[in-house]
Symmetry: C2
Subunit: 407 residues, 2 copies
């Protein structure tokens, strides 16, 4: 039963309170038993029964809940650095997609890669995330776009979740774009997803969520409704890539069908914000994608002020967000989107856990939750997020075990 | 006489050619003798006389010249995380300065700190920069604002330059803001700089440059001209913080007096761009400051297209740019300012060396120059800058000696 002591500040990110309430405790202690948080509070209030337990020294640093990256496309083959250069020269995301670059190019490379190859690449990314203090990662398929290759990607995630060190939450994103083979028969691809792929995914327990990219270059609201309704009947939760490049009605659909999250929302309308607020959908902000695509960001301030919880994630993928640096996404959420450091931190912990339906298990340091936490080289979370460094994380614990660094 | 082989690509950043000419060599080799580059080229052309020399394996990675961070305020005491939060809540740079926060607060903390304390803090930052591939750092005073404390800061830099691992280029920025004690007698502070401080700095060889912050909250063009003209007579080069928060005539003054660089330039006018182009002043872009201050960036595309060389630096300081992550500044130069990866890389190597008058010595990998280089975990510089990671640098060499990592 280890007792972490000498914690300068501990941000509990507790379940009660709003997005700006990170529940900071100064001079804190944290006790865990096995994989569970047993007690958290000021060291002066540490119960006598823990007095003789093994002490771990946080060296007067900040402790935060393990970060939750609730939107990534971690398994893929091949980079797309030339898309980056094309965009700097003025090509739009739609230009690149229409010219046959973009997602379809990654699909070709990913289809050609083996499970072992994809697992090796993804493993390296996940260990690098763990070193940044990340402990839970939502991972989407979506570069297979046929039954075998979508299942292959989800198998990669299943293997890496079992292997550790991180907790993965797999999402089937077969409806990422319409694959080349179905361009003249979109309905047949939608039927392939609803009638063949999703039943197979559910039978093999390969995903918890189904996601659809609603966009002019991808799927219509009607197609998304068909796919996600079927997914919900089969027992999967629904997520949406919504209103990224145009106001395409994705956020309204998310509210309509009770999706757990609506992600991107750079172009979200005022009406859709009200719908999200009244239905309890979590918005997921992806400021790295906004930066790389040179877009106006999601209006996070307006969403939060309207009562919509806003998670912050990386969108890690080889095209529009080739970085898994979640603390950088948090810095951008502050500087570009004017979220406060408190709101940003809660957006990458408890609110992010809500966006993947895991807030009963992770996202805050409270009794009974998983002992997932990071020790950060800063006096408090504001100093951490403001003084951007390559990596300020000193140690990462998942389920009570140290997986990176040390105290 | 080590020979670095198995280099996937080597960007020479050669002296000839424009800002977008980084002189990429595939399948390259690099030979150095002592602290000097002896030969660089395709490995197939390696002269027979080097065949028997010690080989160092770059493991099929990218090699670039050691990065040059040509604008930093590295020596200071105290952080200013609360300025960061105030700005997110709507306070402007001028608001914070007028309310007694900002630079003056760092001045108070820095005056109270000893040389040893400042050296310890700065040393940690410099080693962290070295780990990112940086080999030369311009370092400004400017948090002392009286004779003794300005000299103290420059002594810190002198000590750390002698100690290594990095090459420091010290700049006297006594004209950063008017200190509290002289607020009602600005002319006396200007005279203190010109008549007492600068002669002492020159006598003790404590700086190569003199810099002035031309801004409504700092110094007028007339005051800057007085200070910099005096500095030039004493043998120092001139630099300017110009047109950051308003178009205050700083760039025009830089052109007028033949400054080596004009830095910031977020608000530079079209006329001033033409003046800079015709006089050969190097512009220094500081996109991290732009991000933290939520400003429109320097119009780097217009400057480059007009023929002005544009360096990219961090502006590392505890207020407006609390990060020494130069590769992040390069990513922002690409995404926010639409510089190409080639232009950004040359902006942090050869062009940055020009901005501190050291382009005869560092900034490119050419015969006779200092053997300063970094081995980067990427196939080429585009992949490096696009796939942002905490740190992609595998090894850093300064004057032919490995100071970080290894090949």
């Amino acid at each position: 039963m280890p007792v972490l002591v000498n914690i300068a500040t501990l941000a509990t990110c507790r379940s009660e309170g709003g997005q700006d309430d990170v529940g900071v405790i100064g001079d804190a202690a944290l006790v865990w038993v096995g994989d569970r948080v047993q007690w958290v509070g000021r060291v002066s209030g540490l119960p006598a029964r823990f007095a003789g337990e093994t002490r771990v020294d946080a060296r007067s640093r900040l402790v935060v809940p393990g970060l939750v990256d609730c939107h990534t496309h971690t398994a893929f083959a091949g980079w797309r650095a030339h898309d980056f250069v094309a965009r700097l020269r003025g090509a739009s995301y739609l230009d690149i997609a229409r010219a046959g670059g973009g997602i379809q190019q990654t699909v070709d490379a990913t289809r050609a890669a083996s499970v072992d190859d994809l697992a090796a690449r993804s493993r390296a990314h996940l260990w690098a995330m763990a070193a940044l203090g990340v402990t839970t990662v939502e991972c989407k398929s979506g570069y297979g776009l046929d039954v075998d290759n979508e299942l292959k990607l989800l198998e990669v995630y299943q293997r890496l979740d079992a292997e550790g060190p991180l907790r993965l939450v797999p999402t089937c994103l077969a409806a990422h774009v319409v694959p080349r083979e179905y361009r003249d028969n979109r309905a047949a691809y939608v039927r392939l997803i609803t009638d063949v792929l999703l039943p197979a995914v559910v039978e093999r327990r390969l995903a918890r969520y189904c996601d659809v990219f609603v966009e002019r270059t991808a799927f219509t609201v009607a197609e998304a409704r068909t796919i996600l309704t079927r997914a919900q009947v089969l027992g999967l939760g629904a997520k949406l890539h919504a209103d990224q490049l145009s106001d395409g009605g994705g956020a309204a659909l998310a509210a309509d069908i009770g999706a757990v999250s609506a992600d991107h929302l750079e172009q979200v309308s005022a009406e859709a914000i009200d719908r999200l607020a009244s239905t309890g959908v979590t918005a997921v902000s992806l400021p790295l994608a906004t930066l790389y695509l040179r877009q106006e960001p999601m209006p996070a301030r307006r969403l939060i002020d309207a009562g919509v919880p806003v998670a912050v994630a990386t969108d890690f993928n080889p095209g529009s967000a080739p970085s898994y640096h979640l603390p950088l996404a948090l810095l951008l959420a502050c500087t570009v989107q004017r979220m406060t450091p408190d709101e940003a931190l809660k957006g990458a912990t408890l609110v992010a856990a809500r966006a993947i339906g895991l807030d009963h298990e992770v996202g805050s340091l409270e009794e009974g939750k998983s002992a997932d936490f990071a020790i950060i080289d800063a006096a408090d979370h504001v100093e951490w997020l403001y003084h951007f460094r390559p990596n300020a994380c000193l140690a990462t614990y998942v389920r009570g075990r140290c997986v990176f660094g040390g105290a």
